[in-house]
């Protein structure tokens, strides 16, 4: 059975639901979940470009996130510039980092890339923790009170929600645009078989490098948004391994390499995480990560395509049954 309405209508409905969410659920608690959900969806969608589409599994994307989070607050601390001015700086450093890691490892198999990402992220985390210029272990703070809208420091969650939603829209639109272009086919070719892609004339290393640079840039923006929202960053919340874990699990649970995979993953995990933290109190975060580890292992073992792929596989069976009835 064909779906009763065309795909673009579904996207319009999804967009409408996301736009209406904070107006329907006006409580601060729900809006906070909404903002957290959007941030998780943005960074996981950014990870998805290189980790999902190109199949190069980064386990150290926190380095790009952290760079994006530190840059605005550093410019504010040094020169009193509005944090928004740090976004391009964060993007530039993130792309430079992407090149430093991608250039040597993309000549080798995917395992080297994964090992390099986790090692570099950890290297930066420890280094930033010792570097007084960026606040060492204490970290950096943003403006306590907004001097104007450009400081992106709001009392209400609402402005953050719509800014984050707009950025998510940009990331997803870019990904959707790439999906249909030659570059998107290159990415999938590289993921399926590097040798085959190379024999068809795809510059494998350059394709992977471009995907990583784009992914790093978007992840850096996610970090900047996080810093603007919380007004504070330290080595662990910027560069910690758990930041990378969150991107990875959100994308993989929903469906790595699929446009709306990270969105689905975030829609499931963020409420789950809020629930475990609320039920188990402060000690809940430990249990959350036991749960995360377990979910990651189960995805790897049974459903590497994520829930979205599972859904695409079982839906035809259901609708056939509905037809027969």
């Amino acid at each position: 059975m064909k779906s009763s309405f065309p795909p673009y209508l579904r996207i319009v409905l999804l967009a409408a639901a996301l736009l209406a969410f904070p107006l329907v659920f006006t409580g601060a608690f729900y809006r906070d979940i909404g903002v957290t959900f959007l941030l998780a969806a943005i960074s996981a969608s950014a990870w998805n470009i290189v980790g999902g589409y190109a199949g190069q599994v980064s386990v150290g994307h926190s380095m790009f996130f952290g760079v994006g989070a530190y840059a605005p607050l550093l410019l504010y601390t040094l020169f009193g510039w509005p944090p928004i001015a740090g976004i391009p700086l964060g993007i530039a450093i993130a792309i430079a980092l992407a090149i430093v890691i991608g250039m040597p490892t993309f000549r080798l198999t995917g395992h080297y890339f994964s090992m390099a990402t986790i090692a570099v992220a950890e290297l930066i985390r420890i280094f930033v923790g010792t570097w007084d210029f960026v606040g060492a272990a204490i970290g950096l703070q943003g403006p306590a009170r907004a001097r104007g809208w450009w400081d992106l420091t709001f009392r209400s969650e609402l402005p953050y929600y719509y800014i984050f939603l707009a950025v998510l829209g940009i990331v997803l639109a870019t990904t959707a645009f790439i999906e249909r272009r030659r570059f998107g086919f290159y990415l999938r070719a590289v993921k399926a078989s590097e040798r085959a892609a190379r024999s068809l004339g795809v510059s494998v290393r350059r394709t992977k490098l471009q995907a990583l640079a784009l992914s790093a840039a978007f992840t850096s923006v996610a970090g900047s948004l996080y810093a603007a929202k919380t007004g504070f960053i330290d080595p662990d919340s910027g560069f910690g391994i758990l930041v990378s874990v969150q991107m990875l699990i959100v994308a993989a649970l929903g469906g790595a390499g699929m446009l709306f995979g990270p969105l689905l993953g975030a829609a499931i995990l963020i409420p789950l995480q809020t629930a475990t933290n609320t039920w188990f109190g402060g000690g809940g975060s430990g249990l959350t990560y036991i749960l995360y580890g377990g979910i990651i292992v189960l995805i790897a073992r049974f459903e590497p395509g994520g829930l979205l792929e599972l859904w695409h596989r079982i839906r035809p069976r259901w609708s056939r049954r509905a037809h027969a009835a």
Binding site: G51, G52, G55, Q56, V57, V59, V100, I101, M103, P104, T105, R107, L108, T109, G110, H111, Y112, S114, M115, A116, I118, A119, V120, E122, L123, I126, F127, G129, T130, I241, V245, L248, A252, A256, G286, L287, Y289, I290, Y292, G293, G294, I295, I296, V297, I299, A300, R301, P304
Partner: protein, 285 residues
Amino acid sequence: MVAVQVIVGGLLLGAIYALFSSGLTLIWGMMNFINFAHGEFVMLGMYVALLVVVYIGGGPAIFGIAAAVALAVLGIAIYFSLIRHVIRGPMLAQILSTFGLALLLRYTAFWIFSANFVSLPANALSGTVSLAGVYLPVAQLVAGIVAIVLTIGLHLLLTRTAVGSKLLAVAEDRTAAMLMGIRPDRMQALAWGLSAGAAGIAGALMAIAYPWSPSVGETFVLIAFVVVALGGFGSVLGSLYAGLITGLIQAVSAFWLGAIYKDIVVYGLFVALLWLRPQGLMGKA
């Protein structure tokens, strides 16, 4: 004299690095697979040693063997329940499988043992010994020497015995080995047992001489990456040299630059190696 003490201390710690890294390199050499949970295996070996000492009692020989056996069993179980199913799957599944496992083991350890640092109670190896004016804790000396002996033992097992030949045959060509009557699945399970067992006993040795907490696994797996990258992916003997060098570099940089810089120097070395010699310092091009 202080310099000599720093160097010897670094080499002895490096010997333990060599032992657990040889486990990582064995799996890489056998099946082109990186175990992100390898550091957690070392961490579990440390807690097995602690539990045996506290609840059963016995000397280093007892808890060392207990840690090796417990982890070898865990390694084989993980191979059959998880690794065997993802090894021919997509890259994402391969990396997620052991990465998720690492999280699961690390945070379960946090949950059970809390984040506090612990150390083994005083035992037969407490105290210090003076060798030609260099003062060394007996525990460090014994742990380091045993680790070197075991690493060489693993190398000899792989190169000089029938079982070793079978393992290498599977690594070389799975299908050809199968035609020769070797069961690749069993050999790979054995490799996981050996690899995790080496990590477990390395953990027990480390526990004799140094305090630890559940978070050490993350550091150890990164050190193992450095050692394996330095010694050449897949070479046990290479990881022996590289382990000693890594321990030495760490001790020297901790002494002259400050303790907080020791990991920065070692991870920086890893990135430099990836740029300059990705096949490893002693690996073949």
